[in-house]
């Protein structure tokens, strides 16, 4: 599959442009989509029967919602895809009537389709539409359903009004599991002859938090930037502090060891990470850190959130972060020590 040309591209150093891997490895068939296998099976049955209902697919970003809809449409429509699919980003309310007109025009357009198939309107990020815009679509969906079916993708299905939900089959995608992301990354590494170590893959998975798009993007950037995918290089590419240092820091806080905590903090600060980068990674580590009991976790997250807000207000200083360390450490020390 990969030509010599592509291999050159993969090495990246002197080729100015290369196809983003998220595009290059965008699944073409429903079969290629990783994860959510039950739900994907349902889509396959629909693809087979040809009769696609109005659909809503919901779930977090980068888990294959848009891709699934594209695959489904391709499998249903074959060569007619070009003419029989209308993709819309109907995000603002003022555009409702423009959108309505477009859909109307599209629904009335004559297209030769395989028998029993329908034209498809894809509405991506449908939850960014206002309730008013959604109301406007409701009847349109019904009026043209003989010829045209709607596929909606959204992050939050509770932002889709009930009258639209009532007209749709709803499929919910779960976040991709670490193994699932890993599997796809390994396939791409193999195809692109990427050199990596386990630490690097773990780092990719940690930073992506179940978002396949981000994982693949980071893989590509790391590979083209460093020529090797190690933990170190991934965190550099993502411009994120290394979670190992953060973990050390939080352990120190939990024990009330302010010297240990601030030592880790200064280390990160000297490496040039911004206050936001640091605080965001602290949260990522803390929420799943099994060294912390529930109460500590809760109280830590409160402090972290509070600090994050201060930083957003413009005070992203070392003192700000040191203050956080001090407050966390205080919880790890006997209150008696603070009585005079």
């Amino acid at each position: 599959m990969s030509t010599t040309k592509e291999k050159e591209i993969a090495n990246g150093n002197d080729v100015p442009y290369e196809l983003p891997w998220v595009e290059k490895y965008r699944p073409k068939l429903l079969d290629d989509i990783v994860g959510n296998s039950d739900t994907i099976d349902r889509l396959k049955v629909i693809a087979q029967s040809g009769n696609v209902p109005h659909l809503i697919i919901s779930g977090m970003p980068g888990i294959g919602k848009t891709t699934s809809i594209h695959c489904l449409a391709h499998q249903l429509l074959g060569d007619a895809y070009k003419d029989a699919v209308l993709e819309l980003n109907a995000s603002d309310e003022r555009g409702v009537d423009v959108v309505r007109n477009k859909i109307k025009g599209f629904a009335q357009k004559k297209v030769t389709l395989p028998p029993g198939r329908h034209k498809i309107v894809i509405l991506d990020e449908a939850d960014s539409m206002t309730a008013g815009a959604q109301q406007a679509l409701r009847r349109t969906m019904e009026i043209y359903s003989n010829t045209t079916r709607f596929c909606l993708a959204c992050n939050m299905s509770n932002k889709i009004i009930e009258p639209i939900q009532s007209r749709c089959a709803i499929l919910r995608y779960a976040k991709l599991r670490d193994e699932e992301v890993l599997k796809r990354l390994l396939e791409i590494c193999e195809e692109e002859k990427v050199q990596y170590n386990d630490d690097g893959l773990t780092a990719l998975i940690f930073t992506a938090e179940g978002d396949m798009r981000q994982a693949i993007n980071n893989l590509q950037s790391t590979w083209s930037g460093f020529g090797f995918v190690s933990g170190e290089s991934v965190f550099k590419v993502c411009d994120q502090p290394h979670p190992i240092i953060i973990r050390k820091m939080i352990s120190a806080c939990a024990k009330g060891d302010i010297d240990g905590a601030t030592a880790s903090l200064s280390e990160l600060w000297q490496q040039g990470y911004s206050a936001v980068d640091i605080v965001v990674t602290i949260f990522r580590v803390v929420k799943n850190f099994d060294e912390l009991p529930e109460y500590t976790k809760l109280e830590f997250i409160k402090e972290i959130g509070f600090t994050h807000m201060r930083i957003l207000e413009g005070v992203g200083t070392l003192i700000q972060l040191s203050g956080l360390m001090a407050r966390l450490c205080k919880m790890g020390r006997n209150p008696e020590e603070f009585k005079f």
Binding site: D97, G116, N146, I161, E162, N288
Partner: protein, 566 residues
């Protein structure tokens, strides 16, 4: 030859028509045609029928039958009722469909250069033209005025159906829309029927004008449709199953569908159609027949939000922890399963001695997993916790700790986050779990829909009423109009308005919303989040257990036991 050609055209048309029939969704193909097929409460149909009969009559009352607003959840049969009655009573339905005669270029696309505002304006122009033309409908067909008003030629009756409304969230459009309706009601005898569906879990009935007050100067009548009762829904689905020849769908699957759609018949028929596809395909894939069909059902029919919200609330508010005894009714297998799950949970790391009272057993719930698997935003989550937490607390301390956490998050997130506070969900979940007793006492808790929505709606209506009173004041004495600010009207005019009500020149209807302050008890008003939110959703993944209160889909809710094994 000519004849032949005609015949060919006819055949083509026929084939095209047949193909179009095939391509229709079942909801359209098997739409009810007579009252027998209509799964709506007889009384509701009768209400609408009577209204229509009065509207078409020559009696004085017909003057007050010009505007009917049908409200209710989606899939409750509002439009279908109208269609059936139109067949039965023989009147035509003139429907307004937006974007109907819009400027389309040769490819059928709207001209991109038209700005949003122009388009709105032109859309409203069209709407007004439509109403004006439709208002003259009768005279187009019948020039004899004497006959046009007689009711013995029922075929000439017509109603105007507005369902695909112009975008009324836009203030200017809203005003034009309302005055267009008002004008129409004044001068035409053709009744207007507006169909408005509820927006959903958040309970924000859209701004469109579902509240009767919005229309009050037009003497409108409004009829509210309830979710369709289980018995009606079941027989309607069975009829569709026969007509569609979908015997592959077993009775138990059909029952499952009925139970999972919260009285939404459209969702039910959609589910039936795609379950039939699934069941058919499963046969050819040599899979077990019932298995996959049942599995597919769950996610095709569930009212996504309601179900997810419910699972989420149940998980958090029942606060299950490692080592909790199995529920009383648990089978041996279930109990063993629970022990197995517990054995995989790590013990909590020790908490420092000075936090002793904060130590808890490991939670069976992971806040982070909840977060990544629920497509519900944190603010809605917190509203539902806020509405429902008290029955889950055993002491005042529990309540205190819980509400303290909720308000901490609100006070420390809020406006400073550009989009959404990324910590909120975790804090709501963790904080609630931590505050609740363990185990939570089981006292038959039910979940309620946040009252905030209703309060917000009432506030909105009251504020509209203030505007109407101001309009009324300035109509009567333009020179004093400016002294009556909104605040002044709201705070100082109450007694006068109420006194006026008894006199001749009545102020606009609805001022009671702000001129009369009634004391109301809080929680008593909350609606059991039954029918719509949860409606008989099977809660346990392995073994759906549910409880229905009578046949009428009234107050279906989740009992604590249902959550137990989940």
């Amino acid at each position: 030859m000519v004849c032949d050609w005609d015949h060919r055209v006819f055949c083509h048309l026929l084939i095209a028509w047949a193909a179009a029939q095939e391509n229709r969704l079942w909801v359209d193909k098997y739409a009810p045609e007579t009252e027998v097929d209509l799964a709506v409460h007889k009384q509701k149909i009768e209400d609408v029928r009577r209204w229509l009969r009065e509207a078409f009559s020559t009696q004085p009352i017909s003057k007050y039958r010009r505007l009917l607003v049908l409200t209710g959840p989606s899939g409750a049969g509002k439009t279908a009722t109208l269609r059936v009655l139109s067949g039965e009573m023989g009147f035509s339905v003139i429907e307004w469909i937006s974007a109907q005669q819009s400027p389309l270029d040769a490819y059928g696309y709207a001209d991109e250069n038209i700005s949003g505002d122009d388009l709105y304006e032109s859309a409203m122009d069209k709407f007004e033209t439509f109403l004006a033309r439709a208002g003259n409908y009768r005279s187009v067909f019948n020039n004899n005025p004497a006959q046009s008003s007689s009711s013995d030629s029922p075929t000439q009756n017509a109603v105007i159906l507005l369902e695909d409304l112009p975008n009324i969230l836009h203030e200017g459009i809203r005003q034009r829309f309302h005055s267009a309706i008002h004008r129409h009601v004044q001068r035409s005898t053709i009744p207007v029927i507006i169909v408005v569906s509820d927006a959903g879990v958040r309970g924000e009935t859209e701004e469109v004008g579902a509240g009767p007050l919005r229309w009050s100067r037009n003497n409108e009548v409004s009829a509210r449709f309830n979710p369709i009762a289980v018995t009606f829904l079941t027989s309607a689905l069975k009829r569709v199953r026969i007509r569609a020849g979908a015997a592959v769908v077993s009775d138990s699957v059909l029952t499952n569908i009925v139970e999972s759609v919260s009285g939404d018949i459209r969702a039910a028929i959609m589910a039936l159609e795609f379950t039939a596809v699934r069941a058919g395909a499963a046969g050819s894939q040599k899979r077990g027949r019932n298995g996959p069909a049942n599995a597919s059902l769950e996610s095709l029919t569930r009212k996504e939000n309601a179900l997810v919200l419910f699972h989420l609330l149940g998980k958090v508010l029942y606060n299950k922890r490692k080592g909790d005894p199995p529920p009383n009714h648990a089978t041996k297998r279930e109990a063993t399963n629970l022990r197995k799950i517990d054995s995989k949970l790590k013990d909590e790391p020790p908490l420092q001695a000075w936090f002793n009272h904060e130590a808890r057993a490991t939670s069976r719930v992971s806040a982070d997993e909840l977060y990544s698997s629920t497509p519900i935003d944190a603010s809605l989550f917190s509203l539902y916790i806020h509405q429902n937490y008290t029955p889950f607390c055993a002491t005042l301390e529990h309540s205190d700790a819980l509400i303290d956490n909720l308000s901490w998050v609100d006070a420390n997130g809020g406006d400073n986050w550009y989009e959404q506070n990324p910590y909120a969900f975790h804090l709501y979940a963790l904080g609630t779990l931590h505050a609740l007793p363990t185990p939570v006492p089981h006292v038959g808790q039910k979940f309620y829909k946040p009252e905030l929505f209703d309060v917000g709606k009432r506030a909105h209506e009251a504020s509209n009423a203030i505007d109407r009173v101001r309009g009324w004041l300035s109509d009567r004495s333009p020179e004093n109009a400016s002294t009556w600010t909104r605040t002044a009207v709201a705070l100082e005019l109450g007694v006068v308005l109420r006194a006026k009500d008894m006199g001749m020149q009545k102020p606009p209807h609805g001022h009671g919303l702000f001129s009369e302050m009634r004391f109301v008890h809080g929680a008593g008003n909350a609606e059991v989040a039954g029918e719509r939110e949860t409606g008989g959703v099977p809660v346990s993944e392995e073994e759906p257990k549910r409880r229905l209160d009578g046949d009428d889909a009234q107050g279906t809710w989740l009992e604590d036991d249902d959550i137990e094994d989940w």
